[in-house]
Amino acid sequence: MEQMLNFAQGPLFRLAFAVLVVGLLRRAILMAWPAYVAWRRARDQSIRWSNYFKDLESWLFPLTHAMTSRLVFTAVSYFFHVGLILVPIFLADHVSLWTVSISLTLPALPKSVADILTILTMAGVTFLLVSRFVHPMMRKLSKWEDYTVLILILFAFISGYVAGRSWNPISYNAMLLLHVVSAEILMMAVPFTKLSHCILFPFARLCSEIGSKLASDINYTYVSPITRGKRP
C-alpha cells in the first residue's frame, strides 16, 4: 500500500501533471496558431477589445447573467468552479505535494476555508449531476462524457474529504490512494475532454470575432444556382 501510494504521489503524479500541462499547451497552440494566421489574412484586422473584456468580465462575475436566467443553476455552477479551482491548488496537503514533486511553493488555504469550499464543491457537483439527469431537455442532450467528468470530480473530492476523517470506513492510506489516482485521472483527462474549456474559455469570443472576418486574399464571388453548371 505504502509503496503504491508513494508511486502514485511521485512518478504518477509527475506524469499526470506533465500530461495536463503539455496537453493544454497543445490545445492552446492548436487554437492560437490558426487564429493568428486567420487574423493576419483578414481584411479587417480591428478587434473590439473593449467589448471583449467587458464580456469576459461579465462572465467572471456573472451577476447580471444570473439575474437574466437560471439564477440557481448559475449560482451553483459559479461556486462549484471556485471550489474546483482553489481546493486542488491551495489545500495545505496539496501545497506540500507541489513543493515535494515539482518544487513549487504556494500559500495554503486555512483548513476551515478549504473544508467549506470542498463541501460547497461536492454539493455543487451533485446538484449539477442531478439536474442533468432530472431536467428533461438536459438529459436528452447530455453525452456520457458529461456525466463521467462530473462523477470523476465528485469521486476525487469525496475520497479526498473522507480520507482524513475519523469516520473514514477504510484505512487512511487506501482512501488516499483512491483520491490520488482519481485526481490524477482527472488531471490527465483535462486536455482531452470538455474540461479543456478551462484554457479555451477566454478565447472563444476572440475566435468568433476572427472567424467572422473575411479573408483579404480571396476574391469573393457568388455563383447563383440559376447559372450553376452553365459556366464555361
Binding site: 489574412r41 476572427i210 469573393y220
Partner: protein
C-alpha cells in the same frame, strides 16, 4: 426524424448531389476561403451543455423541440468540422467510428431545415458562458449549402436579380423607380404639406441614400419621412435610380453575394461621387454595410452611416422641430437585432421616437437583449416558411406586443415591418405597424397644404 412539423425552405433548383461527400467538398472550399475554422475548432470542446442558450432562443421557446436548442442546432456542423477537418483533441482512436456515424446519420434535408430555423439573431450568444456563437455556425452552414447550390427559392431569386439581373431584389425596372420618386414628391406635399424634392442621380451630392428597394412600393411613408428629414436638415442628398438597393441577403447565406452587392454599392457611390453613404431603415442592410464597409472599402474614402444616426444627430443639433402631439398613441418600439446587437445602434432610434411621440414604451426585454420578431436571417423572405415564422419564430414577439398594451409598433427595419404585419394579422393583435420616419414625418407635418408651405431649407 420525427418532428411534428416540417418547414423546409424549398431550394431554387433540385439539388444536384445530395451526398455527404458533396457536402464535405463544399465545406472544405468554404473553410479555405474564410476563417470559420478558427471558432469551429474549439466550440465542440467548450460547450458544457448548460442550456442557458435554450432560454434565449425564441424559436425554442415557442416550439420546445430539442432540435431548436441552439446547442443542438449547430452541433452537427461543429461535429462534422471536428471529425473531418480538425486535428482532433481526443485522439485518433475513435475517429473512424465517429466519421462512420456522422456519415450514416447525415440527412441534408434535415440539416437544411434546421439551419433555416434560426433567425440568426445572436441572442443565444449573449448568454452563453462559453461565448459559442451559434449565429456564426448557422451562417457558416448556410454558406456550405449555398456552395452546394442549395439556396431558398425566394432569396436565391432576389439575389440573382440583384447581382446578375435588373439590379435590385424586387426586380423593379429603372422607370418604376423614377416613377416612384416622382410620386413620392407629390405625395409628400399632399400628405404632409411639405414641398420636398427627391433628387435622382445627382452627381457630387454629399449624401447618397440606399434604401431597401422594396420600400419604394411598400413603405412610401418611410421614404417620405426620410426625404423630409434630409431636406429640412439641408443636406445635399440624392438617390440612385441605376443601382438603388441596400438589401444584401448575402449576409444571411453567402459571403460571395455579400461582397458582390457591397461592391455594386461602392461602384455606384464612386460613379455619383458621393462622400457619404446612408442606409435607409433596414436592419440587415445596415449591418451588412456598416459591418463590412469599413474594413473593405474604407480606402475608397467613403463614409458610411445609418439614417437613424443622421436623423438623431440633426435632432440633437435642433435642426428639426417635431411636434410630439401629432403622435399621441401609445407606441412600442421594436429593436431589429441587426441594428442593436449587430451594429450597436441603440440610442438614436430612441431619441427620435422620444422627440416625435407622446407615449412611447419599451418592450421587455429591449435593446441588446431584444427578441427577434421571428423573420430574421431571411426567414421572412422565404414563402415556404410563412407558417413557421408566424406560429413559431414570431410567437414570443407577438406576446411581447400584446403585453405592452400599445396601439402601434414602431420598427425601423423593412423586414421587421413585414414580419410584424404578418404577426399582427396572424395573432389578431389590435395594433398597427409603422416605421420610425413615418412617425417623424407626421410630427413634422404642416397643418394644411398651402402654396406657401415651407420648403426645405
Amino acid at each position: 426524424m420525427s418532428h411534428k412539423n416540417h418547414y423546409l425552405p424549398r431550394p431554387m433548383k433540385p439539388v444536384e448531389d445530395e451526398s455527404f461527400d458533396a457536402f464535405l467538398q463544399a465545406m472544405e472550399k468554404v473553410l479555405q476561403e474564410g476563417n470559420y475554422g478558427v471558432p469551429l475548432s474549439i466550440f465542440a470542446d467548450l460547450c458544457t451543455g448548460c442550456l442557458r442558450c435554450a432560454d434565449q432562443c425564441q424559436v425554442f421557446q415557442a416550439s420546445g423541440e430539442a432540435r431548436d436548442v441552439p446547442h443542438s442546432r449547430t452541433e452537427e456542423v461543429i461535429r462534422i468540422y471536428r471529425e473531418f477537418f480538425h486535428p482532433r483533441a481526443n485522439g485518433w482512436f475513435s475517429r473512424r467510428k465517429q466519421q462512420q456515424d456522422i456519415r450514416e446519420q447525415f440527412n441534408l434535408r434535415d440539416l437544411n431545415e434546421n439551419l433555416y430555423r434560426c433567425t440568426l439573431c445572436r441572442r443565444c450568444t449573449e448568454e452563453c458562458p462559453m461565448g459559442i456563437d451559434h449565429r456564426l455556425v448557422a451562417r457558416f452552414g448556410r454558406q456550405v449549402l449555398s456552395e452546394m447550390g442549395i439556396v431558398p427559392q425566394n432569396m436565391g431569386g432576389s439575389t440573382h436579380e440583384q447581382i446578375f439581373g435588373i439590379g435590385n431584389t424586387s426586380a423593379f425596372p429603372r422607370p418604376a423607380i423614377i416613377d416612384a420618386l416622382e410620386f413620392l414628391e407629390e405625395d409628400t406635399y399632399d400628405t404632409y404639406g411639405l414641398k420636398c424634392t427627391f433628387p435622382q442621380d445627382k452627381e457630387g451630392a454629399e449624401y447618397l441614400i440606399f434604401h431597401p428597394v422594396s420600400d419604394y412600393m411598400m413603405e412610401a411613408e418611410t421614404l417620405m419621412g426620410i426625404g423630409i428629414v434630409m431636406d429640412l436638415i439641408g443636406h445635399d442628398w440624392s438617390v440612385s435610380t441605376y443601382y438603388a438597393d441596400a438589401i444584401n441577403y448575402g449576409l444571411f447565406f453567402d459571403d460571395g453575394a455579400l461582397m458582390m452587392v457591397l461592391d455594386k454599392m461602392v461602384q455606384e457611390t464612386k460613379r455619383l461621387k458621393a462622400k457619404k453613404v446612408v442606409i435607409g431603415e433596414c436592419g440587415h442592410a445596415t449591418r451588412s454595410a456598416l459591418g463590412y464597409w469599413k474594413s473593405h472599402f474604407e480606402s475608397e474614402g467613403i463614409e458610411i452611416m445609418s439614417i437613424l444616426q443622421v436623423t438623431a444627430e440633426a435632432l440633437r443639433q435642433g435642426k428639426l422641430s417635431p411636434k410630439r402631439e401629432k403622435n399621441p398613441q401609445k407606441i412600442v418600439l421594436h429593436d431589429p437585432c441587426n441594428i442593436v446587437r449587430g451594429c450597436g445602434i441603440i440610442t438614436p432610434q430612441r431619441e427620435i421616437l422620444e422627440a416625435c411621440s407622446m407615449d412611447y414604451v419599451e418592450m421587455k426585454p429591449n435593446g441588446v437583449k431584444n427578441y427577434c420578431g421571428g423573420g430574421g436571417g431571411s426567414i421572412v423572405i422565404c414563402e415556404d416558411l410563412e407558417p413557421f415564422r408566424n406560429q413559431v419564430a414570431g410567437k414570443v414577439k407577438a406576446d411581447q406586443i400584446k403585453v405592452s398594451g400599445a396601439e402601434m409598433v414602431c420598427a425601423p427595419c423593412a423586414n421587421c415591418k413585414k414580419m410584424l404585419r404578418e404577426l399582427v394579422d396572424h395573432h389578431k393583435l389590435p395594433v398597427t405597424v409603422i416605421g420610425l420616419h413615418d412617425l417623424l414625418a407626421k410630427s413634422l407635418m404642416v397643418e394644411a397644404p398651402q402654396d406657401t408651405a415651407p420648403t426645405a431649407a
